[in-house]
C-alpha cells in the first residue's frame, strides 16, 4: 500500500470503507456547539469536549425525527457513523439519533417548546378569554371511543340545556396532533359552539405528547371561541394546558366547569326573580301599614288615594294567575328533568311499579298546583268586588254624602271655616242638594276641630279588611 499512488477520491473512499467497518453505529458524548440548519433541513453542528471537537451532520431525514431542538451548550449522546466528507476531506460523524443527557428527550422538547411559545406570548394572561355566561353549546375534541368522552358526557348530561357537538380525533400516535388541530379548526369554524373542550384521559408523557405539539397549541390559540383543556390527570401539564383559555385538571373537571357556570347564571336569574317578588310584597305591606296609620277618621278625603292603592293591589292580583301558571310550567320542566335523571340511575328504578309511582306523583303535583291557580283566580274576583265597594259612587249608594262649599271641589272637613249664610252643596247618591249654613257648633269631633257629622261612626267605614257592609250598618 505504501508504494501505491492514490487518487484523492479513491483514498477517501477507501478510508470510508475502513471507517464503515469499524466505526459505524457508535455513540459519542459531548457538548453541542455551532448549530446551523441548511435550507434543505440538514443539521450541522460540532460536538466538543475540552479542546477536542468533532464535526457532525444530521441529514434532513434524520434531523426531522429529533424530538427536541439542538441548542448550543446542550450535553448529548449522538449515535451515528464516522465518515470523511469527500468534497472537503473532513472527518465527521453522521448522526442518526441524538439524546440529551440528564433530562429525557421529551422532557427537554417540552421545556424548549414551552420557552419558545412563552416568548411568543401565546400563554399570556391577557390572551385568556373568559368562559361565556351561558356556555350552552359545547364542542368536544377527543377520541370517540375514549373513556374521557364518556366521563365528560356523564357530567354534561346532568344539565338539561346543553347541546354537545363532538369532533372526534385520534389523541395518540402518529398524525394525532394534526387530527386534533383539524378538529379544533372545524369546530371553531362551525359556529355551532360557544366553548370547546379539548380532552384526553391520563397516560404517560409519551401518550400525552400530542398535546405538546405546536400544531395543537396554535389551533387552540386561534380558535374563535374559548377553549378549556382537560388533559390527563391533575399532575399532567401539557403545552395545550398552557395555551388554553382555561385549564382543567381532568376531562371530567372541564365538563364540571361548564355545568357550574350555567348553574351560576341560572341561580342569578332565579335569585333576582325571587327577590323581585319579595321586595314587591314588602312595598305593598309598607303601603298597607301607612294606610292603616293614616286610616279611619280621615274619612272621605282619603277615598281617591285608597281607591288608587286598591287599584294597584288589584293590578298585582291580576298577574297572579299568570305568575302561577308560569310556576306550573317551570315546575313541569323540573319534574321532567328530575324524571329523566331518575330514569338514568342504573338499577335504581326497576321500570314497572316505580315509573307508575312517578306518574301518579306527577299528577298529584299538577292537581295541587292547579288548585293554587284556581284559588288565585277566586282571590282576584273577590278583590274586584272589594274594589267596587271602595268606589265613591257605591259609598254614596250606602247613604253617605259629600258636602262642599258652593263652587268648591274639596270635600268639606272643617266646620271652623264656615260662616252663617254660606251656601253648601251636598252630593247624595241620586242628586245634589243646595243648603245654607244656619249656625255652627264647634268642638263635637274627637280632635275638637273636625266637622261634627259623626266621624267616630264613619271612621270604621274605611278600615282595612273584608266586610265593609257589616261595618256600615250604624248609620
Amino acid at each position: 500500500m505504501r508504494d501505491q499512488v492514490w487518487t484523492v477520491g479513491a483514498l477517501i473512499d477507501e478510508v470510508n470503507v475502513l471507517l464503515d467497518s469499524g466505526f459505524s453505529g457508535l455513540t459519542v458524548e459531548g457538548e453541542v456547539t455551532g448549530v446551523s440548519r441548511s435550507a434543505r433541513g440538514h443539521l450541522y453542528f460540532s460536538l466538543k469536549e475540552g479542546e477536542a471537537q468533532l464535526d457532525c451532520v444530521a441529514w434532513a431525514s434524520a434531523a426531522k425525527r429529533f424530538r427536541f431542538d439542538l441548542e448550543d451548550g446542550l450535553a448529548v449522546l449522538a449515535t451515528g457513523s464516522l465518515t470523511v466528507y469527500r468534497a472537503r476531506g473532513r472527518f465527521q460523524l453522521v448522526v442518526t439519533r441524538i439524546e440529551p443527557q440528564g433530562l429525557g428527550a421529551l422532557q427537554l422538547a417540552f421545556e424548549q417548546m414551552k420557552r419558545r411559545l412563552e416568548a411568543e406570548g401565546i400563554f399570556a394572561v391577557e390572551r385568556k378569554r373568559p368562559l361565556p355566561s351561558v356556555p350552552q353549546r359545547v364542542g368536544i375534541v377527543t377520541s370517540a371511543s375514549g373513556a374521557a368522552l364518556r366521563d365528560m358526557l356523564k357530567v354534561l348530561r346532568r344539565h338539561a340545556n346543553i347541546e354537545i357537538v363532538v369532533a372526534p380525533a385520534t389523541v395518540q400516535g402518529r398524525g394525532s396532533a394534526e387530527e386534533v388541530a383539524a378538529a379544533l379548526a372545524r369546530l371553531g369554524a362551525s359556529n355551532l359552539v360557544d366553548v370547546v373542550i379539548v380532552g384526553r384521559g391520563g397516560g404517560s408523557l409519551e401518550d400525552l405528547w400530542t398535546f405538546n405539539e405546536e400544531s395543537v397549541a396554535r389551533a387552540i390559540a386561534v380558535c374563535p371561541v374559548p377553549v378549556i383543556a382537560g388533559i390527563g390527570h391533575e399532575v399532567d401539564f401539557t403545552i395545550a394546558d398552557f395555551t388554553a383559555d382555561i385549564r382543567a385538571a381532568t376531562p371530567t373537571q372541564a365538563a364540571e366547569i361548564i355545568v357550574t357556570q350555567l348553574e351560576e347564571s341560572e341561580g342569578r336569574v332565579e335569585d333576582a326573580r325571587a327577590r323581585l317578588g319579595w321586595e314587591l310584597r314588602r312595598h305593598l305591606q309598607g303601603a298597607r301599614a301607612r294606610l292603616i296609620a293614616a286610616g279611619g277618621s280621615a274619612g272621605l278625603a282619603r277615598v281617591p288615594h285608597r281607591v288608587e292603592v286598591a287599584r294597584l293591589r288589584l293590578a298585582v292580583a291580576d298577574r297572579l294567575p299568570e305568575l302561577l301558571e308560569e310556576l306550573v310550567r317551570s315546575a313541569g320542566h323540573r319534574l321532567l328533568r328530575a324524571e329523566a335523571a331518575l330514569r338514568r340511575l342504573p338499577g335504581l328504578i326497576a321500570a314497572g311499579g316505580n315509573s307508575r309511582l312517578i306518574g301518579s306523583r306527577t299528577e298529584q303535583l299538577v292537581t295541587l298546583i292547579r288548585g293554587h291557580v284556581d284559588q288565585a283566580r277566586t282571590a282576584v274576583v273577590s278583590r274586584e268586588r272589594a274594589l267596587q265597594h271602595l268606589s265613591p259612587r257605591r259609598v254614596l249608594d250606602r247613604g253617605y254624602s259629600i258636602t262642599t262649599l258652593e263652587g268648591g271641589t274639596q270635600p268639606l272637613k272643617d266646620a271652623g271655616r264656615l260662616r252663617g249664610g254660606e251656601a253648601l252643596v251636598t252630593t247624595l247618591s241620586d242628586g245634589t242638594v243646595r243648603s245654607l249654613v244656619v249656625k255652627r257648633r264647634d268642638g263635637a269631633g274627637p280632635s275638637g276641630r273636625r266637622q261634627s257629622q259623626g266621624p267616630t261612626k264613619q271612621g270604621s267605614l274605611f278600615d282595612d279588611g273584608g266586610s265593609y257592609d257589616e261595618k256600615c250598618g250604624s248609620r
Partner: protein, 80 residues
C-alpha cells in the same frame, strides 16, 4: 368569523339583561321608592327575568358528531 362575533354579542346581551335585572332588584330594595314605581320596576324585572330564563332554556340536551364536511349527525353514546 363574523358569525362567531354574533355568538359573543348574544352572550353579552344575556349578561347585560342580567345586570339590568339585578340593578332593578337593587332599586326595588330602596324604601323611598313609591308603590307605583315599585310596581313598574317589578314588571320590568319580571320581563327581564323571563327573557334571561328563555335564553337559558334556548337549547335542549343533544349530542351530535361533527363530520368532516362540517355537517352533524346524531351520536348515541351510553354513559350510564
Amino acid at each position: 368569523m363574523t358569525k362567531n362575533v354574533e355568538v359573543v354579542e348574544a352572550d353579552d346581551r344575556f349578561e347585560d339583561q342580567l345586570e339590568r335585572l339585578e340593578d332593578i332588584v337593587g332599586r326595588l330594595e330602596d324604601d323611598t321608592v313609591g308603590l307605583e314605581q315599585a310596581l313598574d320596576l317589578f314588571e320590568q324585572g319580571m320581563s327581564l327575568a323571563g327573557k334571561c330564563r328563555s335564553r337559558l332554556e334556548r337549547v335542549e340536551q343533544r349530542v351530535s358528531k361533527l363530520l368532516e364536511a362540517g355537517t352533524t349527525e346524531e351520536m348515541d353514546i351510553e354513559t350510564s
